[in-house]
Every structure is written in C-alpha cells, then in structure tokens.
Symmetry: C2
Subunit: 299 residues, 2 copies
Amino acid sequence: MSVLVVGSIALDSIRTPWAQRSKLLGGSASYASVAASLFAPVKLVGVVGTDFPARFINLFKRRGIDLSGLSVAPGKTFAWEGEYEENMNRRHTLRTELGVFEGFSPVLSENHRTCRVCLLANISPSLQLQVLEQVESPPVVIADTMDLWINTARKELLRLLKRVHVFILNDSEIQQLTETHNLIAAVKRLHRLGPRFVIVKKGEHGALLSGPNGIFVAPAYPLAKVLDPTGAGDTFAGAVAGYLSQISRLNQGELRKAILYGTAVASFCCEGFGLSKLVRVTPQKIERRVIELQQIMWV
Amino acid sequence: MSVLVVGSIALDSIRTPWAQRSKLLGGSASYASVAASLFAPVKLVGVVGTDFPARFINLFKRRGIDLSGLSVAPGKTFAWEGEYEENMNRRHTLRTELGVFEGFSPVLSENHRTCRVCLLANISPSLQLQVLEQVESPPVVIADTMDLWINTARKELLRLLKRVHVFILNDSEIQQLTETHNLIAAVKRLHRLGPRFVIVKKGEHGALLSGPNGIFVAPAYPLAKVLDPTGAGDTFAGAVAGYLSQISRLNQGELRKAILYGTAVASFCCEGFGLSKLVRVTPQKIERRVIELQQIMWV
C-alpha cells in the first residue's frame, strides 16, 4: 500500500502581505510526500543540490519517507520565489532557478518499481512519463500539472493524460488546457483526453470531482485566515494519493472521501508557512476536520 | 404563507458573446417574484412606466402574482443594458435609466401589510426600509443588495441590516461591504452588523450560508452551457423566500434546504434569456435538480 511520489523538491522564498520567509522546504514532491505520509509509507523520487540543508533530509526521515530514490547532484537545489497579493488568491512568481533539475533523469531502483499509488506531482510531463514508464502497472496513477507545462509541453502532457487514472489541476489550468471557459464543459473535454477521473482544485471554492458516475463538489475547509497557501494543491494531491493507497478499488465513492481528506490536510498547510503546520498534524486533527466538512455539506 | 416582494421591474437589453436581446422583462422583483411564485402566493410591490408591455403584466398574472401593489406611473420603465464577457462571469453595465423609479415612494395597502416572508429584492436600501417599515413585523425578512448601494447608500444599508433576518449578497459585494478579502472572516464581520443568517452567492461556485450553527456550502447546479445569467441571483433569492414561506420556523436546517431550492431554480434561469426558461419550470423539474444537487454533495 505504498505511494511513490515524483516531483520537485525546492527551496522556496515566500512573501505575503504580512510576512516574508526564505529558504523554506518547498516543491510539489515535498508537500505531497509529507501529506501522503500521514496515510501510508511513501517513497520519494527527486533530486536536490549539495546546498540542500540536512534538516530537511531529517524532516523527511522523521515522517518515515523512503529517500533511497532521492539523488543529491552537484549544483544548486531548485529555487522558487513568489509573492502573494492581498487577497492571497493571486500569486506572482518572482524567480525560478531550475538548478539540478535541469539535468535530472530519474532511474528507479527495483524497490521503487512497485507501488499501490503512483503520484506524479507537478513537474515536467516528460519527467512524469519517464517515471511512470519504469513503474510496473500501478493500480492507481495520479498526476498533477501547472500552467507552465500546458504552455510549453502540451504534447507530452497529452501523452501522459492517456495513462493517468486521476488527473488533478486547478480551475484556470483546466480552462487553459481545454480552451473552454465553462468548467463543466471543460471537464467533459478533459475526460476525452484520457483520465477516468478529473479533480479540479478551486482554492477557497473547494474541489470538483468528475467521473463516470457524475459530479461531486466539496467545499474548502473554512479558514478565517490563510497564512501561506503555497503547496496547498500539492498537499491536497498527496493526501488524496495517501488515502487511495489504503483502499482496494478505485471508485467514485472512495474518491469523494479522498477529496475530503485532501481538503482537510490542505487546510492545515495554509495555516503555516511552508510545511511548518503540516508536519505537526495528527490523524485525530484530520479526522475532526473531515467530520466538520461533512457537517458543512450535510443537508 | 404569502411572500411580499419589493424590488425593481425593468426592461433589459442583454448582450452575450453569442446573442443579443432587447426589451426583455427584467429587474430584481420580476425574477424574484416569478421564482417565489413557484412555491407560494406572491404580492409584488413596484413601479413601471406607461411603456410597460401588457404581455409582461399578463406573465405576472398567469403566475398568480398579486399586482395590486404595482403602480403604473407616467414616464418610462426602468431600463438596463448589459454585456457579458466570454467567460459569462464578468458583466459590464452599458446603460441604466431609472425612469419612473426616480420618484417611486411605495405606500402599501392594508392587504400588503401582512405576509409570512418579506423579500426586499435588490433596490435602494431607503426604498427597502420604506417598505419594511410598513409591514407588520413579518416572521422572515430577507434582503439582497448590490455594489452600487454599498458605495452610494452605505448608511441606509447599515440601518437596514439591523432589521434583516437573512441577508443575501455575492462574494465581491461582501468583500466590499466588510472591507475584508477572506470570505469566512467577512461573513463573521457581517453578522456583527445585524443579520442572523448570511448567504453569499458565489455564481458558478455555489452559495455559502453562515448562521449561529456554523457554515453550510452548496455547489451550483452544474450547467455545461450558461445562456444568460442575468437575474440568477434575484431568482435564487425569490426561490429561497418562496421555500421559507412554507416552513413554520426559520432555522439552519430549513435554510440549507431553501438554498438547494434556490440553486435549482436559479439554474433554470441561466438556461434561457431573461425569464424565458423560468416561466416554463415545473415543480417536478425543480425536485429533480434538488435531488441531483444532493447527490453531488453526498459523501
């Protein structure tokens, strides 16, 4: 029941209207693997530079994350710098330095070729494909993406989509990918490109699931203060992957529950800078928020 | 169990990326009273000019709407012209002519002073107050508003808020009124201004209810094509008012159901220009969409 996670591992610098932090542990795979580790054993595939702080290695280890697939390459760790507007919904990327990711070409060990869930967290579709091709037909393949790849690697992304069971993206990304404004129409188009299940992340408006049995909509967990939403989407994907690794059959009912768990875990992510709040979350706290979410939806 | 509706009655000209219609029946009270009439007897309070087409009078009459509170004044009916952007979420007002509304000062007849639900549909807060002051302590007072009044009549609006049980507004309006970006924080602030229950309309993202028993979130009914969203918010408010006129006690459970009915009825509004689809809706069709909405939320 393990989760294999591939994605970026980064050093993030984040500015919000109220605060500023630099060299935080960031990247899609960092958030996703920590979130997934709340539910299942995680194997992390990625690369960092020689500047990567040992305390972050220890953070992963404390979560029991298998780091045998983590390469340390000569050079600098992927670095990202971003700034949030006052409403915390709009974000501007100020700087991106690929560093060691530029030459990254993952080769999976024997131990990494089998898993229950393969989570291709946000990273270039060609890297996602390269990892997926090395895994022995995983029961559940989940992929996330971002606007950059829709713009620059559409061909590879379309190739990936044919092999993904659950595709996760946000509302502006699905509009961009399908060239469709209406979300319901966009989701229908996306199914035709491959994925049986599509999850649209809508930030403060929650998430929408579409599959053969129709549509499911979950609200976001109501937070009166969002400290730093960086990584919330990756955290959501990681928790969904972790939850799904525990179930025997991928179906809409289980995906609905997975989304509630993803939503609950992502809400903790937003309450601290970087991973600071996420690493202190307990199963009891998650369960409490899942119950609250059910009460919010109950009619 | 009647609903008293006051608001605007207008002649609308609407442009969408695909079509154009002029001199449609519009205005908050038109949409709201037709929607409320699907659930309960409605008394309409408003004013039209001598140019108001008889076919629209007949439309109200066919719905059984009591028009004894509808004044016909010398001059032109309130006229509005608007245009939608391609995503159908952004709307620009091209023209507003108040016409007979400029001198409107409603005086309620004896018959109109009692009702189960008083719906103060979107119109200037001073007119809403003027009507409310003439009604004999109605068990449920619902009010809607818009950005214009938040900007130009804040003092009157704040006075109104102290006397409203259910206040309805959209997400950008609540941010504007409370000067708060975060929706959850904004709702908390709004409660302090008076209303026990607040409903935030979020368009394609559904609606949020906040009250003493916490938060409820309902999705929008999933439409793959929105033809004309004009009046959807007024329709929602009208259906909520109509539903609430049937129940004996205003509480969060009934409001949750009312929101599902409001959402279902508003979805029909979006599927036709003006009131064209709304006037053909049947109770069976509404029930079907309410059940679908419950399935979309079920977990």
